[in-house]
Amino acid sequence: MTPSGDKKLQDRAPYHLSGGLHVTGRSRFIGEDNRPAELLFAKVVLSPYAHAQILNINTTPAAEIPGVVAVLTHLDIPGENQIGLVPQDEPLLPVDQVQYVGQPVAVVVATTPRIAEQAVSKIEVEYEELDPVLTISEALDKDQLYIPERRIKRGDVEQGLQNSEYCMEGKFATGAQEHFYLETQCCIAVPGEDHQITLYSATQSISEVQIAAARILGIQCKDVTVDVPRLGGAFGGKERTATLWACLTALACHQTEKSVELRLTRTEDMLSTGKRHPFEAVYKVGFNQNGKIQAYSVELNSNGGAYTDLSIAILERAMLHAENSYYIPNISITGRACRTNLPPNTAMRGFGAPQSIFVIEQVIERIARKLNIDPLDVRLQNIYKTGELTPYGQPIEEASGGELLERLRQNSQYLELRKSTDEFNQCHQFVKRGIGVVPVKFGISFTSAFLNQGSALIWIYEDGTISLSHGGIEMGQEVNTKVAQVVSSELGVSLARIRQESANTKRVGNASPTAASSGSDINGNAARNAALQLKKRLAEIAQQMLAARYNLKVKEPRIIFAEDRIFDTAAPDRKLNFEEVVKQTYMERVPLGAHGFYKTPGLHFDREKGVGNPFHYFVFGCALTQVEVDLLTGQSDLLKVYIVHETGRSLNPEIDRGQITGGFIQGMGWVCMEEIIADEKGRYLATGPSTYKIPTIRDLPTIFEIEMVEVDREGSSVFRSKAIGEPPFMYAEAVYFAIKDAIEALTEHEKEVELHMPATPEAVVMAAKNHIHLDSTGTT
């Protein structure tokens, strides 16, 4: 049999497969090429209220405008008015009540975008305003939970708290975050014969869109094709959210029997789409003098918004990361997902884990302050060791958190950095520096086990070139590059031979969403499986060809595929060209197409009991940041960032580095800059980049050092690589703690300050104001 598996990937650092297209402006996003002739434009009527009864919708004045082709409400839905997954609780267009500001109420289809826009303003909807529920506390008061509270428990927390030398309790709230993908939500729907429809949708989940659109239109999956060439960013914001806009476009297309484009403006997008879930946590912790945590109980309450969306899965991941990198003998984790009248909050990079990790890290910081121990030492005191069990009973294999923290200590020259930071603070009155450290342990796999499956389809054409399809969506994370690398490596061919196809339900059915950092794992493995099938067939033909051509007869043939050649190790200088073997395989009537499949092994999780092995493996890493904070203006400057991240055997170190860098900066936005504010009526106030501020190039640190530790791990995925998308996001929480550390330097770290998250300049100024002495006589 042919050897494979542990060997090095042929080329680990090819450029972005679409990079050449991106830098020349030739890459095509949805709607940028092959625009259908006679394309119509859809525009959506959005609810101005967070909660209201719909009394009447008068579409007549809009319908009378020349150029308006159709005005559609829930009455025009031929199938079932339902786009929810589990549970099915979300209508495509509301029948009697709107549940959030920005909820689509009706759709206008017109010959130009401007006419559609004018028609929208002519639609008269009569509402009777109802009281909205906007906050977690209101929802808890009214018992508006999506599911009964969930719990994961181990040991005896009460006993543990009693046995601890110290106890503390507290609260911590984390804010929402807008995805701010550069390409807004969009879809183009094209009608086909016999009621078929093709949707070019900016979705991370082709199958979900397919199922929902079929249900809405009263047709079947076989009638709906969903195709995605690439996305202009997503970050979870096009996992569930895209389904709504795709289905509205599908409805418009179905009803007009014309091609229709729907593209949200930035304002519409930010007003009506869900964000990262805000969480509010209440905790109690018991610990000993050495900083060892004995008991921890935490309640995690999330603001789920108006429909379930992914709130339950997000709550679950939050709960499964509540202890982050630390072994805590007695622990109780309670989770509640609240229903409110905000846009349905949804997946975003980290998927609940950043929120719960933030709480335990806050706890660690407080313990360190209380005991006057260095926070890094408190972290090391508690960090997981190999073989220890998580609260849900999954053993931590190959625990490397402690080792990585030690590397971080070295890389950052921690002691000297601490010292120089303290010295700086001694001689500066209004400007202070601070340091923050955060380790991360992140579980890889969808916690819904059934989603952990991937499919791929490979065709080798007669000329030796290859068509590669898989279920992964390319959205900048370069899943396409990685999967193509796997195939090129397995078949020993150059990447140039491979055409990476768009994600399409016709080529790959029942695809899981590209999410949970799993894209390269499940699709890479599936593609590898397909490549191995083909390789086996090609090897047999190659063996026959070698025998015939060179009279090569080997007892145990070992056929190698490398550098576009095929040979036997017994005679490495007698090589066949890849294409001649392909041609011969074809002539022999041996199939040159293969469907590959992969399911992640060993996953199970009992949700009721909160026990199981939900994850295939864990990703480990840690980060240290140093900031300088102007306590008068509240402005924070990121000075230094050190990250140590264990990659397994990276498929492509440059892609992984890009994910670490990008994830960190996105996380930094969340912890100290980006703020989603709703008014008392539940309307988001920041609806564009002029009011919602994400990091710019000016926010880069002066020193940004990333060490990627490559270790061969049992717990890993394709070619022993590890997933990379989400874990680095959490490193940025170190920025928040560095800012807090800087403010606390005002009191020589004796007093703890209350610092709102995100630590915006406003939060900094307000946290510092009670500790700052504006006259120099008052400072120490």
């Binding site: 450029y15 972005h16 990079g19 050449g20 297209l21 991106h22 830098v23 020349t24 402006g25 030739r26 095509r28 996003f29 940028e32 401007r114 993908y181 550069l182 390409e183 690439r230 202009g232 960013g233 930035r266 304002t267 209004f430 900048g476 994370q477 370069e478 008068l632 203006t633 509240g634 402005q635 580095r657 890009g658 860098t661 990008g662 960190f664 900066i665 703020e675 504010i677 106030l685 920041a686 564009g688 980049p689 002029s690 009011t691 501020k693 990091p695 710019t696 190039i697 000016r698 926010d699 880069l700 940004f704 300049p761 406003e762 100024v765 307000m766 504006l774 006259d775 120099s776 006589t777």
Partner: protein, 493 residues
């Protein structure tokens, strides 16, 4: 305005191509280039000039050479493309050969989803056409108006820095690897390209969102134009357009007519005199920032304006627009008020000078009368200490929550004159009047600083909004005063 000037079509160069096309007044440059001309490398994302995805290079002749500026094509009426050379992402590579910027972006893995990439490359292109070896600060300044949500910017910065290294190392020469080969040809074509189409006929657009777009070239033409409408509700004067176009794109407020004053030569000068500096209302922020006389005589104005918007915005926006718009938080206005500027208002009947402090009447209301336009800004050149402070959620490209300006003059150890100006604290930018009596004639020390801060806080009643709470704003007033005065003390130590 002669009848022969009336037309609806514009003529410009797009990459290597000459384009002659009919446009309507509400078409943006982005809409024309992306949708009508099909150059879909230029992306649309925010429509308010804050993300940079639609950045294009707009080239204008200066001394026979094309000078390229990055602009947000979503904020330019398509009509402004007339007579320009526009380079988009499609115009950089020649055949399969990548431009040096493209090549380095690729090699540094500086593109992920790719949606922001063309805009970023165009911003870098404009930077490298002007500076062969920009430093990190120059690169940051050129790119802070381009949002990227994927890469975390580090690989983009690395790509830009390696371009510099390659250019310095003479491994590449600027002319061959930054500027496309066709540029010199277009330079010569543009010299003879002076089709006088500058006024758009009003009747042509009846029934559309905007009926007419007027581009007077002289003050006389401007006044005739304004006279024709009479009622100022019927038109909007536009210079940089960065506010007006946001109002159109986001709020969908279409003025009936637009009068574009950006082509009036009389309004485009900076004049440095012995004791003052005059800046015409058509002068862009970039022109002010880059002017050697301003750099020498009024460095504080330059430093302040560098904090306004992004490179793209500064390439379009004018200081006069900042004033006429009467925003209560405009950085430029805070500085000008602190510098004790005044403005010349022009009408067909003549001119009058108004102290800037008297110009603002109420929220977004000014002393500008019907038939008047803001002609020139005059800034006295003074001795003393000047400082500008800005608190905003983000350091780059953000509107302040509170901004302030401090002017102090000291005479034998005592404060002899002062001005404290605050934005974001009231309906208009205004002086904090109560500070002067506290510090005037006194020696500045910590106690006096606190008294001054306390006095200032008392005189404002700010509101809470998306940019910050009232409490925060009050605290910032105190903190800013401390900051200004401590800076003053540290300089005078």
């Amino acid at each position: 305005m002669k009848a022969s000037n009336l037309t609806t079509s514009i003529s410009f160069f797009l990459n290597a191509q000459h384009i002659k096309v009919a446009v309507s007044p509400e078409t943006t440059a982005l809409g024309l280039i992306r949708n009508e001309l099909g150059k879909r490398g230029t992306k649309e994302s925010c429509s308010e000039g804050d993300c940079g995805a639609c950045t294009i290079a707009a080239g204008e002749l200066s001394d026979g050479k094309l000078n390229y500026r990055a602009i947000n094509s979503c904020l330019w009426p398509a009509i402004r493309l007339h007579g320009k050379h526009i380079i988009t992402i499609e115009g950089l590579s020649q055949g399969e050969e990548l431009n040096l910027i493209q090549e380095q972006m690729l090699e540094h893995h500086a593109t992920q989803c790719g949606y922001c990439t063309p805009g970023i490359i165009m911003s870098l292109f404009c930077l490298f056409t002007r500076k062969q070896s920009p430093n990190k600060q120059d690169i940051v300044q050129a790119l802070e108006g381009n949002l990227c949500r994927c890469t975390g910017y580090q690989p983009i910065l690395s790509a830009a820095q390696s371009i510099t290294e390659l250019l310095i190392g003479k491994k590449h020469t600027n002319a061959n690897h930054i500027l496309p080969g066709y540029v010199s040809e277009i330079e010569s074509k543009l010299v003879s390209h002076s089709e006088p189409i500058k006024v758009i006929e009003t009747n042509a657009f009846q029934g559309r969102d905007i009926h007419g777009y007027y581009v007077p070239r002289t003050l006389e033409e401007l006044h005739t134009c304004m006279d024709k409408f009479g009622d100022p509700e019927r038109y909007r004067i536009v210079s940089g357009g960065t506010d007006l176009m946001v109002d159109i794109n986001i709020n969908r407020n279409f003025p009936e007519n637009i009068i574009d004053i950006s082509e009036i030569d009389d309004l485009s000068a900076i004049r440095i005199k012995q004791d003052s500096i005059s800046i015409g209302s058509g002068v862009t922020l970039t022109s002010i920032i880059e002017h050697p006389g301003i750099r020498e005589k009024l460095p504080i104005l330059r430093e302040t304006l560098l904090l306004v918007g992004s490179e793209q915005i500064r390439n379009m926006a004018t200081l006069a627009g900042n004033i006429a718009n009467a925003s209560p938080i405009a950085d430029g206005v805070v500085a000008l008020l602190g510098l004790d500027a005044d403005v010349t208002l022009l009408s067909k009947n003549g001119r009058r000078n108004v102290k800037l402090s008297d110009f603002f009447i109420d929220y977004k209301q000014t002393d500008l009368q019907t038939g008047e336009i803001l002609g020139e800004i005059h800034i006295p050149i003074q001795e003393g200490f000047f400082n500008f402070e800005k608190s905003s959620k983000r350091q780059a490209v953000d509107i302040a929550t509170v901004n302030s300006f401090c002017y102090l003059k000291e005479d034998s150890g005592l404060i002899s004159d002062c001005r404290f100006v605050f934005g974001g604290m009231d309906k208009t930018v205004r002086l904090a009047e109560s500070c002067r009596p506290v510090v005037q004639g006194k020696k500045l020390d910590d106690r006096l600083i606190l008294k001054c801060a306390e006095a200032a806080v008392k005189e404002f009643e700010p509101i809470s909004d998306v940019r910050g709470s009232a409490d925060y704003r009050r605290q910032l007033v105190e903190n800013h005063i401390v900051k200004h005065l401590h800076k003053f003390l540290s300089i005078n130590e």
